[in-house]
């Protein structure tokens, strides 16, 4: 059974920005699903609609078998949401934040105190529990946020870019937290991210979202497996970089090519055979390679394959 079903969701914001353009995907119960895409692809809008905050112009969305529009009140009882902005009241202590959240979900007395204490321990905030959240680090506020989303034992958990803005070490710690949640109590998790590494590590299935629609979906392994061949990364030295992309046009065995700064990334049918040809073609244009790596395709290559640009490029393109 699917815990989340989004069908043909369309949403246009006032001012004409089309955030969703026929978004369709479904998430089997008890699994972790990733929506992967650059900023502005529509991931957050999708989460807002699925969590009853916003309404789609057309299309249907069901969470835990309830229509998010008609049964909004019941949907809200069954979901936990970690939004992009952390939503922690920084004037309250961690414990007070959790207690208020629990009360809103109808929890009382001892039940609430025990659950709050348990969650504080689970996310490693028991020592900071009675300090005002203003003094928490970004990672601590995020962990509190996740604890708040879990207080009422939701069936479906939404994590909207839970690690954006966190330091790399904190991000890895957060991944461990999310891994621990995986599979617990039949929890279904929808995670949005623009970190490929994050999706690769955490999700069972994913959909790549581009301009409000799904352009590819499957398991990370399956998506990578569909890409035959290898991935070649070339670090370019000084010189005119503009020609790098066109230089590889027509080179035998080379498929998609993306240039990002001094890094050239190409998907090729056969790594070992392609490298000399690639280097030759670059040299013919006066471009010197500093280093070359051949690897199995990563989600980065999947992204490149379906959208024609690297995820980093896409991100910068929409946030500049």
């Amino acid at each position: 059974m699917d815990a989340i079903e989004a069908e043909n969701l369309v949403k246009t914001y006032p001012g004409g920005v089309r955030a969703l353009d026929g978004l369709t995907f479904s998430v089997p119960e008890g699994t972790v699903f990733g929506l992967l895409g650059p900023n502005g692809a529509g991931k957050t809008t999708a989460v807002k609609i699925l969590t009853t905050l916003s309404h789609a112009d057309s299309g249907t969305a069901r969470v835990a078998n309830l229509d998010v529009r008609r049964d909004a009140a019941r949907v809200r009882r069954g979901i936990g949401v970690v939004q992009q902005k952390h939503g922690v009241d920084i004037a309250l202590t961690g414990r007070e934040n959790l207690r208020l959240q629990g009360r809103i979900f109808g929890m009382r007395g001892r039940e609430i105190e025990e659950r709050v204490q348990h969650l504080l321990e689970q996310v490693g905030l028991e020592e900071a529990a009675d300090r005002v959240a203003r003094g928490y680090s970004g990672g601590m506020q995020r962990r509190l946020d996740i604890a708040m989303a879990l207080v009422h034992r939701p069936r479906v958990l939404f994590l909207d870019e839970p690690t954006t803005g966190l330091d790399p070490e904190v991000r890895v710690a957060m991944w461990r937290e999310i891994e621990q949640l995986r599979g617990a109590e039949h929890l279904t998790i929808l995670l949005t991210t623009h970190y490929l590494e994050e999706a690769d590590r955490l999700v069972a299935n994913l959909a790549i979202v581009e301009r409000g629609a799904v352009v590819a979906s499957g398991t990370p392994e399956g998506l990578k497996g569909e890409l035959r061949g290898d991935s070649v990364h070339v670090e370019l030295g000084d010189g005119a970089l503009d020609g790098a992309r066109t230089a590889l046009e027509g080179v035998e065995g080379v498929r998609e090519v993306a240039v990002d700064g001094r890094t050239l990334r190409a998907r090729v049918d056969h790594g070992a055979r392609a490298v000399p040809l690639v280097l030759q073609a670059l040299e013919a244009r006066g471009l010197a390679a500093e280093s070359v790596t051949v690897s199995r395709p990563s989600l980065d290559d999947v992204y490149l394959r379906y959208t024609g640009r690297s995820l980093d490029q896409a991100d910068r393109g929409t946030t500049k």
Partner: protein, 256 residues
């Protein structure tokens, strides 16, 4: 029932918020005191104007300052809503089973608590500097009037916050309305001594409804009919504004 309970929890959150920022408690409590003493001193000689009925200006002024303080703090209540929006707190509540109206109601309760404390301080201070309010019930009525006006204005401020979602818009609106509404009332000057056009404006100005009824209630010779009518009018206005503010959530959710 649930709305009431949720509202009380929200009020607790806001009061804790205030409690943990002592500078705001100081500002909240000191500001009306400054107004009372400053205006009281500035316009002291008003009592010498022929036709001015009261012999003590502070006594005349106190109900006006009580209402004005309530009006000011209510006007700014949307700022805290914008802060909640910016921090993601509002969105977190909106995807939870919290009763929408209680988000408004909690802030109104919080505002009322502050207004009651402020008003008691103002009245107490006025008594210390020589004002006399023989009608003790009148003081309660005055505070109820001020709270009702504050609830109405607070709702409008919060509705604007939800719709505009920008501090600049709210600041502009508050500055545009609050002081003029105060001066288009009889808060500082007796009705018969202000220009006719201000008298006309004052009769349809809810701030003036509260000021006049409040003054009438605390001073001898209270016209209870008039006071009750004004109470009714303000309650009606508050009801309309609460409905408006609750509907503003819809506008907010369409825009996010």
């Amino acid at each position: 029932m649930t709305a009431l309970r949720h509202g009380v929890w929200m009020m607790q959150r806001h009061l804790l918020n205030l409690w943990r920022q002592p500078i705001w408690i100081a500002v909240t409590l000191v500001q009306p005191v400054v107004w009372l003493l400053l205006y009281g001193a500035l316009f002291k000689s008003v009592t010498r104007i022929p036709g001015f009925h009261s012999t003590s200006y502070i006594q005349f002024l106190t109900p006006g300052i009580v209402v004005m303080s309530a009006l000011f703090s209510a006007g700014w209540s949307g700022m805290a809503v914008i802060d909640d929006i910016d921090k993601g707190i509002l969105d977190r509540f909106l995807v939870s089973p919290v009763v929408r109206g209680s988000l408004i109601f909690g802030r109104l309760l919080n505002g009322t608590v502050i207004i009651v404390v402020q008003s008691l301080i103002i009245v107490g201070l006025a008594i210390i500097v020589g004002a006399r309010f023989p009608n003790a019930w009148g003081i309660i009525v005055l505070i109820v009037l001020a709270s009702l006006l504050a609830a109405a204005v607070g709702c409008l401020s919060m509705a604007l916050a939800l719709i505009a979602r920008r501090e600049e818009t709210l600041i502009a609106a508050v500055n545009f309305f609050v002081l003029p509404l105060t001066f288009l009332s009889t808060a500082f000057m007796q009705r018969s001594l202000v220009p006719r056009w201000i008298q006309h404006a004052a009769s349809v100005n809810p701030v003036n409804w509260a000021v006049e009824a409040g003054r009438n209630a605390v001073l001898p010779g209270t016209d209870w009919g008039m006071v009750l009518t004004r109470l009714g009018l303000l309650a009606l206005l508050t009801g309309i504004c609460v409905a408006l503010a609750t509907r503003a959530f819809g506008a907010y959710q369409r825009a996010v």
